[in-house]
Symmetry: D3
Subunit: 134 residues, 6 copies
């Protein structure tokens, strides 16, 4: 159940702005699959366009960090923010980008540890070391 309509391919085809974004997603990702987040955003074309432009620029463009590392950071944020859909889509994304089971185990160990120490540090209200100052 969503709070907005999930657009079908037929509906997307009939709207030029939505069609343009869906076409670019398919061309950029070299797959016919357009996942639900884009179908949910289709009713808000301005948000659809700017969000896709940003995802394309950040995630689908070669840059200093390799694609899998960027996906792992994305997954980490998504889990910490408690976003169920995002945990699903970015775990799938990391696997598609070659994440091994051993890397996944590492990922889980790091996010578990980080969450634990974040809670301890917040409870103890640890003062920042001057050594960390820029």
């Amino acid at each position: 159940m969503a709070t907005v309509k999930i657009w079908s391919d037929a509906e997307a085809e009939a709207d030029p702005r939505v069609k343009a974004v869906f076409d670019d997603i398919r061309a950029t990702r070299k797959t016919d699959f357009v996942n639900n987040v884009w179908r949910a955003l289709a009713g808000q074309p301005a948000v659809l366009e700017t969000t896709w432009a940003q995802v394309k620029a950040v995630m689908a463009t070669e840059s200093a960090l390799d694609p899998l590392t960027k996906e792992l950071i994305y997954m980490a944020v998504s889990v910490a923010n408690g976003c169920s859909y995002c945990a699903h889509s970015h775990t799938a994304g990391a696997r598609a980008k070659g994440m091994t089971e051993a890397q996944y185990q590492d990922f889980l160990a790091v996010i578990g540890l980080a969450s634990q120490t974040n809670a301890l540090v917040t409870s103890l209200q640890v003062p920042v070391d001057p050594e960390f100052e820029v």
Copy 2:
């Protein structure tokens, strides 16, 4: 200002359990610097010991993900959890592990984008695509 005492080196030296952990931190990290989170945990020796054991096992042991990638994931979780001290310590940690300015810029772009799309997806309550099912 912390909610607990921040132990000095002299105080740590005088307590065998705390001294053992501080000695191991210094030996493992090959530096004399022991940052405040360990000094804040020193009053809770059992938590100090198990937390350090876990940090050592996860972060200071060779594994499937390289040290910088693990640090970036740790940073991402820390920022998403809003932990001020952790943002400081893990940004410093990532720099110590070789994070370049270009990689840092990538990191910021990814966490910004992830936070934005997490919010959109949660607002839209996007249903999980069957394609993501394991």
Copy 3:
């Protein structure tokens, strides 16, 4: 699946404290529909009463901000807190209070942007400008 029983109308009718709250919800909102949050709270009558009293005082009473603005603020908090039910109920509430599609698109743009800049600011640990001091 809930962690408590969801009370039916018949069960609510049979309990004077619950019936009184349900009657007041219906009278205040001018609808027979009592949504599930109240049915879930019915087993905890003291929490049911104080929560409804607060919702009525804050949301169903004329005040400085108009009803739609208050609903949009409520939605924003609910999304940021990752509350799935609340995202559904307050999006429906905003629509019932007249939110247009263009306003909804604005809402999505603002919460996406805010989430993004919140993450950047937390990562950068930006110091508060003296100009913001009261």
Copy 4:
């Protein structure tokens, strides 16, 4: 204490990309004041440029929701995300856009109530009413 350098006006003047953004901030907002978030982002020019472009498009452009309402939604997200700097800057921003004390009191009442009911609903795991389905 920040995790990055906070750029002075002199430093910003000397970098064409940063200068261009700072000039546009000043022109758009009709004030000489450039607050710290932009000075912290100056070391990451690509993030600086895209973030400012988004803030300008969403917050400084006329749209379906009035400027104060957008600022209140921004504040609400910032508070729920626990961003200290953002709470300061957007409370100041709302006041600059005309928020009255009575409206601020309403704002506080709504975010307090929303946070409370979000917690109750999450604890009770209330199922979404079919009436909220789109």
Copy 5:
């Protein structure tokens, strides 16, 4: 630095609504100390009154859970929400209600573990066991 004025005793004395709440806080808690959260809320008398009424009813009234247990739950929520002031005030509150160092160590161990397993469960998107259904 706060986003509102922190009221002094003299200012509180001069405002009948604020004076009444401050007097009741002092009488209820049997101490002359009124901590800053109330001085920050003093500019919003309606929120001040309803918040204090709720704190008094929930925390300062005998009920099914003993005062220390309620304070520990309050601390746990405050830490998970990343509220710095609240971590300080409720850790002080728990100590004032008799929390021992051993109990504090337990508290830290539980919140660290809970944060860790919460992150794992969210990443794995574990389905709810039918055995937990009410």
Copy 6:
């Protein structure tokens, strides 16, 4: 729908590391029921082993806080972190450890109040009282 396989008893029996943990869970908890979080972690044996070791040490070992109090703190963190599965499992856990309906009502009142005041304090950016300093 999970992001990993949920292991059946037959699959767990066939893997010595997983079988050892499942056997210990059953022996420690004196029940045949192994809930889904362990079945989801089974594919990551190192994380499974260390997580169970920590849960056993913290939650299933006699310590300064009684088992129900520890469970209530765990529930509080889980709710504040928005973990749906965890809200289910720890509410069930608290009931199994003897939580009465009156205690549950108290729990709900405290987490609701804490969430509300956390939001107010974060919005107001209340400065820490010197009295809370250690």
